[in-house]
Amino acid sequence: MTGEQIVFLVVAFVTLFAGLMVVTTRNLVHAALWLVAALFGVAVTYVILHANFLAVVQVVVYIGAIAILFIFAVMLTRRDMRDQGPQMNKNWWFGAVLAVLTFGGLYFLLQGWEGMTKTATSYPVGFDAISELGNALVSPAGYVLPFEVASVLLVAALVGAVYVAFNPRNGNSGK
């Protein structure tokens, strides 16, 4: 076992544990904080994969924005701070079965794939992934169209979210 493998395993188990806590913990704020932990683990995984940009974006977008939004939403949607009643629906066992089945199915399918055991080639020295990524995103030969579409999607989501969450009863004060 190399150091990298050890690091990966630690991160993976932490992440998976955090993920499990996300879906099982009773306190939703805790769930959201566990989500932060899981996301952070994923960010570290990106670092291990040499995807530095993704890692930082992961932190900025997920932790800095999405997780915070979740916490906001959790707090905004309850009348008091305590958690009451069951947190799982009555079919939770069937969900668990399905999740295990999915994992099993995926594992089974992946086992049959010859690319499974592939190892990475060594990371090229001096390879500037971020400028390559930048070029790929905005060059017409690359992914400028998906990129633009994604930006349109974001604008649409922005407008949509404002519209949906806007409370007309409060009038135009916007507070």
Binding site: A32, M88, G95, L98, L106, F127, A161
Partner: protein, 102 residues
């Protein structure tokens, strides 16, 4: 070196966990949390495939970024919906939001 299979199995596990959350949690916000986990597992796959394929082909990272964008959009709209529903029905329990049936 970490073999690709580790990443994939890690991602599959994270995906399943997220799916369990989506299927089982009562709270709509928690369901969205599960969805985030699922999306992240997908991103791990994308990044891993980028790394284990030709690193000069940026498709994996590009798609991961687009997934970020989608996730952000989804959360914004999803949470807005939750808040909107909460405002009108005073609940965020998914089972109780079942008006859309025959």
């Amino acid at each position: 070196m970490v073999p690709l299979s580790w990443y994939l199995i890690f991602a599959a596990a994270l995906f399943s966990i997220g799916m369990f959350g989506v299927l089982s949690r009562r709270n709509a916000v928690a369901i969205l949390l599960g969805i985030e986990l699922m999306l992240n597992s997908v991103n791990i796959n994308l990044a891993a495939f980028w790394r284990y394929g030709d690193v000069h082909l940026m498709a994996g990272q590009v798609f991961a970024i687009i997934v970020f964008a989608v996730a952000a959009a989804e959360v914004a709209v999803g949470l807005a919906l939750v808040i909107s529903v909460y405002r009108s029905r005073r609940t965020v329990v998914a089972d109780e939001i079942d008006m859309m049936k025959w």
